[in-house]
Point group: C2
Chain length 383, copies 2
């Protein structure tokens, strides 16, 4: 394996009723910014659970955070934090709420414009407001990672940013909180976590290693449990397996000793920046098409993927055929669980493809060195 | 999965040449207690690497720490720390050196007798000296866990003790440092890590879950890579896979959502306390025999073990036959890599079995509730 340094400082409280840990976790904080999305937490009881734990504290609220969180909500949150000397941010919801809150946490501690200073110029925050999370969706993994993704609508950009100051202090992960999610989000989240695992798995080194073995175990866990959860959304075991897998998929474990390419995410971010596509659904479209573009130089890894993850019989297949069969099994799986597999299904007009390709943030990886033309080809293949 | 809280605060530096991170890690400390074992680190260059990083600091040494570290070395280390106001302990070696150093770290901060106060009475340390490690052996996992095991020769007891104050601040894990290990220790360490994984895997819940899937991936990683490392001790990939697996096997990952029975370790500790048996070799003997004693009440899990870990064809086998075939494959594997599988091979006299059984620390687990007679039976079956 490649050399690496690993430390993940997030304290995870996983399981039924773990929201009861909130009071203890927040005992040293008094002015709390509570952030959440469209209000579903008010319908499913999560908001009430949280407010009970916040009893006696001064609570400010920022609601209405949308999927693909936008700069406007970040500015709004920063303003509240600065005007009220907020000392802790509690993010309650899915990945979008958490990511938006992370951007607020670092933007609140500087006089610079958060987008220009961090996302464009890549400066490092010197401090950030402490943040805790109550995650209500499996997929993003934002509850145990140090990064956030924000969309700038005016500039048609969706950029990620990572810094260790953005690790949550704690995360409450209660699988029962996902029971009331729309099926669409269950599917999208499952595609997202699957893609996170593949971003690391399909990066060098390719020789057999502990990390890739774990990644295969996690991919198989997703395949098995999304099928169960789709049939029975209140299957606690399936929900808890998906939720813990999504957390591990991006907390650094699957990156240990790996190069971490992450190029499919870059290809997807353009879709979301242009057309507000649900992140996981965009990944279901672009990730297999990216893999089809690059697999020929990494046949050993793709053969392994086909056999170990998809149980495809290698008998009588050439290396290329076997590799391709694995990627097609992946695409079939996304289709089976109800995800789109073409840009057409996402209602993206084909005439926008060249412009999107030119707008995509690209860099050399261990598996690819894409030109704008290559990206255009991948998008066209995905149409 | 069961509810759990997870946080592992150890900063791991993994890979070739990572000893260069020592200087930065130790920059705030001046009076260092350097602990190590029999002196092999002076022959293989590790001692020189470490001393270079310690240049300019006041270094005290405690050497001669043996396998199954004994109370005498702990007392010796505590004395050095107290007399010299040591501010950091750097443990360089295998699990025994690390465990001994952890006991010193907590014993140095109290006026109580460390054995009586912590190991017998189970008091919690209120503070401990900070500790860093340079691990030179794969197996123990002590580099990323919060526990230590110490032997009290006079009382014929080998007890484990865990507390979050005992997590190392950092650990340097360089697979090349294991190249010069005697083959005996490579084998013993591999049995040890395999046993650590099974202690969690064979505990409830038994239904399919993310953690058990990871555990299976780790067990398969051990099986594949110990075979390679035995043939070619300088195979970096195999060594790094074994080393990272051993770290993950006991850093909490394989315990997430599991009951954590750990009874085979209790059965082994008696062997070591009586006859100074190498820990991993003792586990190779007792763990399969413990499993043979308890498997009938957990057939689903044992069937899964046989098929997923050992690729045994279930066709034509009853549940019991398949389960037993898995345990026998485990025993055959231990034999294949050169580990003992009977107490006789460990030169333990059969007439001591009853006394050892009476001396074993036992408690109800999710898989068993052993009486002294049961333990005697397990030891006799292992003879």
């Amino acid at each position: 394996m490649n050399n690496f340094t690993f430390l993940n400082p997030v304290r995870v409280h996983f399981g039924k009723g773990q929201v009861e840990k909130l009071a203890e976790e927040l005992k040293d904080y008094n002015k709390i910014l509570l952030t959440y999305g469209g209000g579903s937490i008010k319908k499913n009881g999560v908001y009430d659970d949280v407010m009970k734990a916040l009893d006696g504290k001064e609570v400010f609220e920022l609601s209405g955070i949308t999927p693909n969180p936008k700069t406007d909500k970040v500015y709004e949150g920063i303003k509240i934090c600065k005007e009220n000397n907020i000392d802790f941010i509690l993010a309650v919801g899915g990945g979008s709420t958490l990511d938006c809150s992370k951007a607020i946490a670092m933007g609140s501690k500087t006089d610079e414009d958060f987008w220009d200073y961090f996302f464009e110029q890549k400066n490092k925050p010197e401090s950030a407001l402490p943040l805790g999370t109550v995650i209500t969706m499996a997929g993003t993994g934002s509850e145990m990672d140090d990064s956030c993704v924000i969309s700038n609508v005016e500039r048609k950009k969706k950029y990620g940013y990572g810094n260790k100051l953005l690790y949550p202090v704690f995360s409450i992960i209660d699988p029962e909180y996902t029971y009331s999610l729309p099926q669409y989000q269950l599917i999208s989240g499952s595609c997202d976590m699957f893609s996170h695992i593949m971003e690391e798995y399909f990066s060098e080194p390719d020789y057999k290693n502990t990390t890739d073995n774990i990644s295969e175990a996690l991919m198989k866990t997703v395949i098995e449990n999304i099928r169960i959860a789709l049939k029975n959304p209140k299957d606690y075991q399936a929900r808890s397996n998906l939720m813990w897998t999504s957390t591990l998929a991006i907390n650094g474990l699957t990156a240990c000793g790996k190069a971490s390419d992450w190029l499919s995410h870059s290809l997807e971010h353009t879709l979301s920046a242009y057309f507000d596509v649900a992140h996981g659904m965009g990944l279901a479209v672009v990730h297999p098409n990216y893999l089809k573009f690059v697999y020929k130089n990494h046949l050993e890894k793709f053969k392994r993927f086909a056999v170990n993850v998809w149980n495809i019989d290698p008998e009588g297949k050439s290396d290329e055929e076997l590799s391709l069969a694995g990627i097609e099994a992946l695409q079939d799986f996304f289709k089976e669980i109800g995800a789109p597999t073409t840009l057409r299904e996402l209602n993206i007009p084909q005439e926008k493809i060249r412009e999107m390709a030119e707008h995509t943030r690209v860099y050399p990886t261990t598996y690819s060195n894409l030109s704008v033309d290559d990206i255009e080809t991948i998008y066209n293949n995905a149409y």
